[in-house]
Symmetry: C2
Subunit: 540 residues, 2 copies
Amino acid sequence: MNEGIYDINLPQNMANFEALSPVTFIERAASVHPNKLAVVHEGIRRNWKETYERCCQLADALIQHGINKGDTVSIMCPNLPEHFEAHFGVPMSGAVLNSINTRLDAATVAFILEHSEAKILITEKEMSPVVKEALMLMKDKPFVIDVEDPSYTEGELIGDITYDAFIAKGDSSFAWKNPSNEWDAITLNYTSGTTGNPKGVVYHHRGAYLNAVSNAMSWGMPNQARYLWTLPMFHCNGWCFPWTVAALAGVNVCLRHVRPERVMQLVKEEKVDHLCGAPIVLSMITALPDEDKAGVNHTVKVMTAGAPPPASVIQGMEAMGFAITHTYGLTETYGPCVVCEWNDEWDDHSDDEKAKLKSRQGVRAPMQEGLMIADPVDMKPLPKDGKSIGEIFLRGNIVMKGYLKNTKTTEEAFVGGWFHTGDLAVWHEDNYIEIKDRSKDIIISGGENISSIEIEDTLVSHPSIKDVAVVAKKDEKWGEVPCAFIGLNEGAVLTEEEIIDFCREKMARFKVPKKIVFVDLPRTSTGKVQKFILREWAEQ
Amino acid sequence: MNEGIYDINLPQNMANFEALSPVTFIERAASVHPNKLAVVHEGIRRNWKETYERCCQLADALIQHGINKGDTVSIMCPNLPEHFEAHFGVPMSGAVLNSINTRLDAATVAFILEHSEAKILITEKEMSPVVKEALMLMKDKPFVIDVEDPSYTEGELIGDITYDAFIAKGDSSFAWKNPSNEWDAITLNYTSGTTGNPKGVVYHHRGAYLNAVSNAMSWGMPNQARYLWTLPMFHCNGWCFPWTVAALAGVNVCLRHVRPERVMQLVKEEKVDHLCGAPIVLSMITALPDEDKAGVNHTVKVMTAGAPPPASVIQGMEAMGFAITHTYGLTETYGPCVVCEWNDEWDDHSDDEKAKLKSRQGVRAPMQEGLMIADPVDMKPLPKDGKSIGEIFLRGNIVMKGYLKNTKTTEEAFVGGWFHTGDLAVWHEDNYIEIKDRSKDIIISGGENISSIEIEDTLVSHPSIKDVAVVAKKDEKWGEVPCAFIGLNEGAVLTEEEIIDFCREKMARFKVPKKIVFVDLPRTSTGKVQKFILREWAEQ
């Protein structure tokens, strides 16, 4: 093709092109709203100027310490101000932030620190027992910095220096540089797989910028939103919300432990208007006594993901004036990239219908370009009939750069130009998707696909059942049959026979579990049920 | 630098990288909210599915007609649905949209059509007299398509085909392709300079995407916002709002003529919650009789630019429940790129103080990376003292690609890695900028810089003065002295001497105009005062 008139002498230059980076958001917040509250934690209240200056100090101190572009700086820390600062100060130094799940065991922490080649680890007193043990397992130990939270009196300092002493060496007016390439890595997040070693998911500046904006757009967040940190920052960088809050010059209300009384107290005292969390967080809030729930005179928007929120939880939250948005995403997609955007045509539906619509995962987020439900093998899109189960495929700017030092898995994940989620879903006529299962969790019985989630949903609607997980059990005749692991509510009595009868009333016979086990479900550190353990138990 | 672990085998691919383009927003709106209202115009109400399909048809029909990537398609049309559609259908075909100011004269229109090498012109009956004349001036005429608005009974069809007949040839499920390069041109907007030929400002997909998002972020716009088209779409592509409204699956309330009664009627009937316009539009609304202004029961957000809105207008609008945001931008910056973001620390100020704060241009918009007030020659930033006058410099992703076929001017505009606006301003201590003058409008008297805007602001505060413009007049002793051109309110009587006395009370003696001329101010088609004419008159 010939060069057209629009390509002649119209190149990128310093004036009209800048790498997209969410780090620019905090510089803007500090210059536009220097005196506005940025971070609240117990007795600490810092404005955007102070917070920005601490980030600059951190960046400068890291460079003085010898950190280079592309080095890894790990952090294992609750949702404290220092964890927020690391989301800016570390990339401002050119390094990559690796935020480690605070619930992991020492062996996994040691694996992550070694695999990521972390030069520095920022840790915190509550993490000391695990981190101490992890460091003992390592040959080349990183330099260790201790966050010292004065409001937390337990735990010991185990590092080489405290965070405040470390950043005190840095210049608060340090002239950090934006990356020249927006494809540069910004963070590294290890997935907590249910089996095997975790994989290191690499995010880049461009994607982090765009998902931060996508959050604000899809939620219609205003400037100066007041965000409560119920969602861990180690979880896909808190779904990119540290950068969203900076873009809006909002308020970060920090939270060490997700205790529902404290959540409600902060919602009222700090006028929190936005928070995220798994459905379990919502359940804990709705289970509070009425006096804790009363007294909220403003709307609180809640984004939830990880599992469809039960209807009772949605209704309970909305009765309190909380507005729930259900989203879906993976570590590989910077957190939420599919959102159950509300359609006001549904306003007149019954509460049950509304809850059902809300429990669907939804449509692509504003900044994600592609979403389809397709055959996992030939990748042909499936009909939008609400029935045909296929794999969820995603593509666009909020899909990860790839897995660190794992070329084969990266290539497999991107086969055919789409990211393969491994999640199974149907596509409704209105373009909203609904998850039916993880690929590996589908049960194939007599050639029929059975969604373990569908059986779980039915069982959990029984008033005596608290907790349930369904897996495949080998069967000579059918190939596989469903096996249900069930936790009962305190004091409830229910027999295997009663449960099977209950299922027979509600579902096709071939879907009814053939074996019932009463058990306390084994979970990962992030609360995911460890189905690989249940699969072993099912065969016993 | 060695290749770090984050650069090994983590390339861009089809799954994780997509060119940023605002065209993707309409595909999403149509798939997520197909039945939601997208466009309203008189009797026409189309939803997002219908609107998207018409854009696909337009794109396909353009390609069938022979339009290639990088060709120019011009449009000269009021704010009608077809003008909105062209913002998507034209780039979906790979072509570049050139939206022409509907108030231009035939010679300028002919110049633009020839300079842009337009292959097609979409026109509309109201434009026929000018377009007919322009086409007669041209050797190589473009193919002409007539928009036929059934609600407009005047004017003649002058083209080769009507818009509806043209797009009827296109496929409503046309599989358009996103550009492979986000730096590709998307639109071309000619600046209406006060002298000389207009310059063609080229926008790219990336910038258009980011400014569309910046609008939504800085204004905190919700999904399904209802936007009234008071701002011409030919004006920096309506400040990129066609794309913003699509990103939010909002409603475009179209408007052929900005008549204040009709504006208020639509605000009430269509529950408009967002609109943009020059201060003159706001003045027209506040001047309406009370019965027109009454009956708005929701907040209407108004973005204004072009000149600081007078305090009386701000107060009048806010009394009606309208919330005014003052912004600043240029054709070269996709419209607004500086915004007077409200700070709630100002809530307790007096109305006059608030209006004064609001009349400042403000701070950089969320997606613009750099703003400074610096010496126009050495480009060194000036102190933030509210006094030192320097040039406004901008840099970042919402600065144009450059001027079409005008390498020298493009290079001059970007000297030193910043875009030179030619506007003069001061920088207040709080980082907010305030415009003092255009570079060429500053008056240098006895070595002192005098802001013509400052004198104009003083004069317009006189109750008898309706309109004012101040320019430099040559003076043997002082070099230059201020000369004021004044329009009086109907029935008002005021002498030159009274005006000079009024000025002496309010400003330093060297700033007082030495000559007063009573006149009807000459303006360009966009309403800008033609100071180059006044400069000639000043010497007579």
